[in-house]
């Protein structure tokens, strides 16, 4: 049988290519996830472990011991013990810590700017060069007291250069330091702006924030006093990173979910490939039985064939995954420098896992088809080739099971919607989907016929070809169905979520941007300028007065806006709905959090006052009142606020920048809801596209499956095609026929998947979106869904290119004389 096995593999190698590609893709997917996860972890290690580079042990305070460190910094070492330890070990120890100190330039100007003006952080630098974790960028390391290196970013921000002198500390501990070099150091708890020698660092030991968090030690640590523990570096760092590592693990788990989807799709595609191949070779198997091969021998040979394909494809997939993963690491580092990826050692467990998964996929996928091989009787070889069985019977048991799953699944989904249970929803969804897959051989051919009828008489042959083997058709479309269902569910879910979020922000932040001036009223000139700013759709000046309101430290404009409808996202309802005697305020801006809607506040303009009831959330840093109320407060309302509505699709950052410029010149301030909204949208976009990208792998695998099925069917129908060519089918017509067949399969799968996906999204919406956002309405993203169907049709056509070319190349005579 070994000869048979080898010969089969050699002859059928080309027919296994597609199946192998599918397995390779899935295995590579898993391995890439492994490499990236290890890379992220290595990146974390590299960053957080940097201060211990070159050391063997870390001396740290025990996690659950009594606090011995200074009161500023819990979990650090007792300062005297730490100093004693560093003194005792000398060159072999690197004390790690930090102190916040006042800092000035030579001449007394405070260093830095903003909130930290006049302050800096100082950390020690190790005596031994091996233990120094800061990377020198220019100059040299400090050799003695009075010298310091500065972090290159701080030096740039504060305009300090090598050779400059700075004064660190105050009073008795004030020291003049010469900056002798610039360093770079990774962001960790030990990162400081200025690094000095250990003796210099000790000088500030009485400062309140001075501490030693841990000591990195080279070689033997020796006897430690109570309140210190020692751990090897690797163990210490990975323990410290447990939290972050958990995040990485959670992320890997999420990616694995998508890999799981891809694997399921692969199983379908590979199983289909095997069953087609075996069906085509049934006569060969029967012949083997005729010449004396036992059932076991035939079965063994076939299984070994599948195993060989699995092993080869899995190995290739692992290699491809490793190459792709390691190739992606520098790319991610370039594209997203904030998430540094380290270059990990080969993640062996992941590689083995990927290999195992590939083998498993192949073996599982070949199990059923090989079982059918065993049933072939030796006589089958002697009978004339049977006509293609047009109607493969779909077992009653299968249909019954499908119906059961459908009914049970729908019931579960109903329960999920009533009971708000995600677990029940997932179970119901899985059950319904499995039911649909099992119904496939009955359902899909009918759908194909209905869709095919739209192609007219020219598409009839394609339609008939597409449905002639219902099981094959069903499995081929099932693979695509999985990806498309999930994709459309995600698209619809995200669109609904986004619409709900938009509705909420429209209601809560109805004004895109406002220019507010408390001192002087805004001029019509400014209004004109605002209106002319690109990206501004409409702007109005709003009359009001500057008022003091209970609970606000600063005065705010109180205004009335009968024409808010021109600019407000909610159609102006928020401004028009304010009745006399009430005021609409942004409660978030209250200083006094005890004020709630319904409370009364005192609003005073000059010497006039009004007691107003607070209603709902509001409109930013302004109070909106009824015109009557405003008349009560002032006789001369003036425009203190300009409300701006942004044009759709505008670059919010640019617009806010432009408005800022105008406002600055007029002495006004800009308040905007645009940037927050843009940031929210961007997050949703990134999430949507990542999910789509990951699902895209499954869809691509399914399309390979369509190409594969078509390719194998083309081989099977070579004679038929030759006859059609003889009867007068042109090459172009033949290619079109095959393209139409592939497009039919993919479009039907996509339409069905879209329907189910939207249905699932609806269930999801009823189950949790509506609970979270009561006013949310279902939003179906028609353009996106249309794009999905269109892309599927095009991809189907693409999948047909190779098989169709191959089929059209055969001349009618050659096809007819084929055996």
């Amino acid at each position: 049988m070994r000869t048979v096995l080898r010969a089969s593999l050699r002859i059928h190698a080309r027919r296994y290519v597609a199946a192998a590609i599918v397995v390779i893709a899935s295995v590579a997917f898993v391995v890439v996830i492994g490499v990236l996860t290890s890379g992220a972890r290595a990146g974390l290690m590299e960053k957080s472990g940097a201060p211990y580079r070159g050391a063997d042990y870390v001396v740290d305070a025990p996690v659950d011991g009594p606090q011995r460190g200074p009161s500023c910094c819990p979990g650090t070492l007792d300062t005297s013990d730490a100093i004693a330890l560093v003194e005792r070990l000398g060159e072999n120890a690197s004390g790690l810590g930090r102190v916040d100190l006042p800092a000035h330039r030579e001449g007394g100007a405070p260093l830095g700017s903003g909130d930290f003006r006049g302050e800096t952080t100082v950390g020690p630098i190790a005596a031994a060069e091996d233990l120094r974790w800061q990377k020198l960028v220019s100059g040299r390391f400090p050799a003695r007291t009075g010298e310091a290196v500065m972090h290159v970013w701080d030096a740039q921000a504060q305009e300090v250069a090598v050779g400059d002198r700075i004064r660190v500390g105050e009073g008795a501990t004030a020291t003049d330091l010469e900056v002798v070099g610039l360093v770079e150091s990774p962001t960790t708890w030990t990162q400081a702006a200025v690094y000095v020698t250990w003796p210099q660092y000790l000088q500030w030991r009485d400062s309140p924030t001075w501490h030693v968090g841990s000591v990195a030690v080279r070689g033997d640590v020796g006897q430690l006093p109570e309140g210190m523990t020692v751990q090897p570096v690797a163990e210490y760092v990975s323990e410290g990173l447990a939290g972050l590592n958990n995040d990485v693990d959670a992320f890997a788990l999420m990616l694995l979910l998508f890999a799981g989807v891809a694997l399921v799709v692969s199983v379908l595609v590979v199983a289909n490939t095997f069953s087609i191949l075996f069906a085509q070779r049934l006569r060969d198997f029967a012949l083997l039985r005729c010449v004396g091969a036992t059932r076991r021998q035939v079965l063994g040979s076939v299984r070994r064939e599948a195993a060989a394909v699995g092993v080869l494809a899995s190995l290739t997939g692992t290699l491809v995954g490793v190459g792709l993963g390691y190739g992606l690491l520098p790319l991610i580092n370039t594209l997203a420098p904030t998430t540094p990826m380290g270059v990990p050692a080969l993640p062996v467990p992941w590689l083995l896992g990927g290999l195992a998964v590939g083998l498993l996929v192949t073996m599982v996928a070949s199990w059923l088809p090989t079982r059918r091989v065993v049933r072939v009787s030796p006589l089958a070889a002697l009978r004339p080739e049977a006509a293609v069985d047009v109607h493969t019977a779909t077992g009653r048991a299968r249909l019954a099971l499908a119906a059961l799953l459908l009914v049970a699944g729908l019931a579960l989904l109903g329960m999920a919607m009533i009971g708000d249970s995600t677990v029940v929803m997932l179970a119901g969804g899985a059950s319904v989907f499995t039911g649909v897959l099992l119904f496939g051989p009955v359902l899909v051919p009918r759908l194909v016929r209905v869709t095919g009828a739209l192609l007219g008489p020219g598409g009839r042959l394609a339609t008939e070809n597409a449905v002639r083997n219902p099981r094959r058709t069903a499995t081929t479309t099932a693979a695509l169905l999985v990806g498309v269902t999930l994709t459309t569910a995600v698209l619809t879910g995200m669109a609904t979520w986004r619409a709900a979020m938009d509705e909420v922000s429209d209601r809560h932040l109805p004004i895109d941007a406002a220019l507010i001036s408390l001192d002087e009223p805004l001029t019509t000139d400014l209004l004109d300028q605002v209106r002319r700013t690109p990206g501004v759709e409409q702007a109005i000046a709003v009359n009001g007065a500057v008022a003091r309101v209970t609970g606000f430290d600063n005065p705010i404009p109180v205004l009335t806006a009968p024409d808010a409808a021109q600019v407000a996202r909610d159609g102006g309802a928020f401004a028009q709905g304010v009745e006399p005697g009430t005021i609409r305020l942004d409660l978030g801006s209250f200083v006094d959090p005890s004020i709630r809607p319904g409370d009364r506040v005192t609003v005073s303009v000059g010497d006039r006052q009004a007691q107003l009831r607070v209603i709902s959330l509001g409109s930013g840093q302004t109070g909106v009142v009824a015109p009557e109320t405003l008349a009560q407060l002032t006789d001369t309302p003036e425009p203190h606020v300009i409300w701006v509505r942004a044009a759709p699709g505008v670059d919010s950052l640019q617009l806010v920048d432009d408005l800022d410029g105008l406002a600055d010149a007029a002495g006004a301030e800009v308040e905007d809801a645009l940037q927050a909204r843009a940031a929210g949208n961007r997050e949703l976009d990134i999430l949507t596209w990542s999910v789509l990208g990951l699902l895209g792998i499954s869809v691509a695998i399914a399309l390979i499956g369509i190409a594969n099925t078509l390719g194998l069917s083309v081989l099977e129908r070579a004679r038929e095609h030759a006859m059609l060519r003889a009867l007068g089918l042109t090459r172009r017509q033949l290619r079109r026929m095959l393209a139409a067949e592939a497009a039919l399969l993919s479009v039907v799968a996509t339409l069905l998947g879209t329907t189910i996906g939207v249905g699932f999204a609806w269930v999801g919406y009823e189950t949790f979106v509506k609970r979270a956002l009561t006013r949310a309405t279902m939003h179906i993203p028609w353009p996106s869904l249309a794009a999905v169907v269109l892309i599927a049709a095009l991809a189907g056509l693409l999948a047909a290119v190779l098989p169709a070319r191959r089929a059209a190349r055969v001349t009618p005579a050659a096809g007819l004389s084929l055996d």
């Binding site: 293609v388 008939e464 038929e720 059609l724 090459r731 009618p812």
Partner: protein, 237 residues
């Protein structure tokens, strides 16, 4: 050498359905070169039933393929209905076949997923012609003549071998081709059914004025033909 067949010694070009001059066909190159046809000159007169006979590997199928425009000859010319097939590209050749040539094969001759009627009108549909009442009537007439009128709604799997072959003949005749080629049409049939099928072919020549060329190695089948051409090693013997 031009070989005139049977009693049509004085046949002119106008009454020729097809002719071949110096036809050669070579497969492979070098050591594996096979000369399937070694210079064939042949005239096929209109309205006659010609049988091409010969043992396996004599080149009779290759000759038919070349005459029918299914395969390109390596050398020489083939003229069917006044058209030189060598001058046509693949698309025009296909269209030409669709309009002027009909085929009946030994097996695998009907599309399994189409009904008998759909199979019969297939060549017209391939040409983009609508299946209107005229077409339907012609199909029914042919089916009637061939005795499969009551089987038109069935799929090939539900028909006997003889019925399948008669449906195939109807399909070949639906376009009223200048030439009808039959490649071992009785190869898969028992002797009674064979006789029926051959009788139908002969009737299509007698009654419909059809030109039929049949490739066979069965002497009994060849007996139904008006003329017999025997092939041996790529030559007409």
């Amino acid at each position: 050498m031009t070989r005139m067949l049977g009693n049509s010694q004085d046949a002119t070009r106008e009454i020729l359905a097809a002719s071949a001059r110096g036809l050669t066909k070579t497969y492979g190159r070098g050591d594996t070169e096979v000369h399937a046809l070694r210079g064939i000159d042949l005239d096929l007169p209109r309205g006659r039933f010609t049988a091409i006979m010969g043992p396996s590997g004599s080149g009779k199928s290759t000759l038919m393929h070349c005459l029918a425009g299914l395969d390109q000859a390596s050398g020489g010319t083939v003229t069917v209905a006044g058209t030189d097939l060598g001058s046509l590209d693949d698309d025009t050749l296909t269209t030409f076949r669709r309009e002027h040539v009909g085929f009946v094969f030994q097996s695998f001759n009907l599309l399994p997923m189409l009904t008998a009627f759909q199979n019969i009108v297939l060549p017209l549909e391939l040409g983009g012609r609508r299946v209107d009442d005229a077409v339907r009537e012609r199909a029914h007439t042919l089916a009637d003549v061939l005795g499969v009128a009551d089987r038109l709604g069935h799929r090939p799997a539900e028909l006997s071998g003889g019925q399948q072959q008669r449906v195939a003949i109807a399909r070949a005749l639906i376009t009223s081709p200048d030439l009808l080629f039959a490649d071992e049409p009785t190869g898969n049939l028992d002797s009674t059914t064979s006789a029926e099928v051959l009788e139908h072919l002969r009737r299509s020549v007698r009654e419909l004025g059809q030109t039929v060329v049949m490739v066979t190695h069965d002497r009994n089948a060849a007996a139904y033909a008006d003329d017999v051409v025997t092939m041996q090693d790529g030559r007409i013997a």
